[in-house]
């Protein structure tokens, strides 16, 4: 059942993400080719020739590219939030919530595709930047990416865990919003602000506390100190993720009240 939920989740969201990805890569390619082609086409040559038209068109294309990159980042976040909200709590919720599927599968069926899209969005934007600056890259230099150390693995893990926690924070805030008799979105926003505030408060105590001075050890400490601090931060993030999941699950299972 999880597989099926995910299948329809990808179908529902893919038709919105794919065009955005195509636009990012196409614009990067177009801009990139203009710059690589040499001769009179690039921005550099336009400046050299003091050709205002060429500068303007080249700059405009660059601006459009950066706007599309920015739009992709915003789109990813907005779609993840919107999709969760509309498919569970609006009209489509009448369909989703009457499927013979457990709440866990519903939640994971939304969460896993959301994680995938976030990672794909990041990869697509990275590829587009590489395309754009391809002519200046010394490709051998990029080989150091293949040289993994423990700390690199931990950093990557920490990023992925934060991503999951970030998405689940949206889910639990939206679910808490459903507890309101009216103005559900307002309560959801309030809940989200509350979560962010509480987390920063606790992190401050945890990491900037003079007793632990975790942040000092992270910056000035030994390799082992850095690893330990990273592990603690991953643990802290995981604990939040579990809390958000439990909240969203409890509300969907026991407190559902569709309008």
């Amino acid at each position: 059942m999880l597989r099926k939920i995910m299948k329809y989740e990808f179908l529902a969201t893919g038709r919105l993400f794919l065009p955005a990805y195509i636009a990012v890569v196409a614009l990067a390619l177009f801009n990139g080719i203009l710059q690589w082609a040499g001769g009179d086409s690039g921005l550099y040559s336009a400046f050299a020739r003091a050709d205002n038209w060429a500068i303007a068109t080249n700059s405009l294309l660059m601006i459009v590219y950066f706007m599309v990159v920015f739009a992709t980042a915003v789109l990813t976040t907005v779609l993840i939030i919107r999709r969760f909200y509309t498919s569970l709590f609006k009209d489509e919720g009448y369909l989703t919530n009457t499927l013979p599927v457990s709440v866990d599968k519903l939640l994971l069926g939304k969460l896993l595709p959301a994680i995938c899209w976030s990672i794909i969005s990041f990869i697509v934007v990275t590829i587009s930047v590489l395309i754009l600056v391809a002519q200046w890259i010394v490709w051998q230099d990029l080989l150091f990416f293949l040289d993994w150390e423990l700390m690199d693995v931990l950093s990557l893990l920490s990023i992925v865990v934060s991503l999951v926690t970030g998405i689940l924070a949206f889910y639990s805030a939206l679910a808490i919003g459903q507890l309101a008799k009216r103005r559900k979105i307002l309560l959801a926003i309030g809940a989200y602000i509350g979560i962010v505030f509480a987390v920063s408060l606790i992190s401050t105590f945890l990491f900037f506390n003079t007793n632990t001075s975790l942040i000092d050890r992270f910056i000035f400490g030994t390799d082992q100190d850095i690893i330990n601090t990273t592990l603690i931060s991953i643990g802290f993030s995981l604990a939040q993720a579990v809390m958000h999941y439990v909240i969203a699950r409890y509300i969907l299972k026991n407190k559902l009240n569709l309008e």
């Binding site: 009209d91 489509e92 457990s102 009240n257």
Partner: protein, 232 residues
């Protein structure tokens, strides 16, 4: 023995109103039951509670003896009073969706009804009229071989010709031991298909009788009785 649908002191409060007030109701197998009442009498609330879309304030609702959950959702076919299909789907995709999630979905039956109603599989939900969307949803719901059909205003939004077809679809497609609960205020149109009626008034059951009883003992029609009970 457990009833197909049972409500035990079922109560639901909304912020401004009491939608259902201590309802006790038992529906057995193999009946077509009309859930009748004026607007705001609690019909939709009752059906949503039975689907687990609302949480009761007090009391409980049981389907085959179980509270709403995965097991009851397998055997309940629910037609809500709104469009719940995502608008990016086509008719064919929506059917595939039902086939994926409901083991008791009969694809052949659904395809057959789709053809008879002149809807193409590749038609998008987005471009359909409200009436066509309602027809698609009814096809999907009635193509399931369920124990309990909960139909919320199935004929409210369609023209009288389609109304006859839909009622015909309902009575010819449900299994003999299945129960059908139809909420509506268009009593005259559905009177002839009902076995029992439940009158809801301001969150309370005003009457629960068989149609035969109403016709022979009270010597009146459901429509006339309704007008009498709910006289303004």
């Amino acid at each position: 023995m457990s009833y197909t649908l049972e409500c035990q002191t079922l109560t639901k409060h909304y912020p401004q109103s009491l939608a259902l007030n201590q309802i006790n109701l038992q529906l057995g197998k193999g009946k077509i039951v009309g859930l009748l009442g004026p607007n705001g009498s609690g019909k939709t609330t009752l059906i949503k509670l039975a689907n687990g879309l609302l949480t009761p304030t007090q009391g409980q609702v049981l389907i085959n003896g179980q509270p709403p959950g995965i097991e009851t959702k397998k055997v309940v076919a629910y037609l809500p009073e709104r469009t719940y299909l995502p608008d990016w789907m086509t008719a064919g995709k929506a059917m595939a969706y039902f086939q994926d999630f409901y083991e008791n979905f009969n694809m052949e039956k659904a395809e057959d009804m789709l053809v008879r109603l002149g809807i193409a599989k590749q038609d998008r939900i987005k471009t359909m009229s409200k009436g066509t969307r309602e027809k698609i949803q009814l096809i999907l719901v009635m193509s399931r071989e369920a124990d309990l059909y909960l139909l919320d205003e199935p004929i409210g939004g369609v023209d009288p010709a389609a109304r006859d077809y839909i009622l015909d679809t309902i009575i010819t497609n449900y299994r003999e031991d299945a129960t059908v609960l139809i909420s509506t205020h268009l009593i005259h149109d559905i009177e002839h298909v009902l076995d029992e009626v439940v009158f809801l008034n301001q969150g309370r059951i005003a009457l629960h009788e068989s149609v035969k009883q109403i016709q022979t003992e009270r010597e009146t029609t459901v429509d006339a009785l309704f007008r009498e009970v709910f006289r303004c």
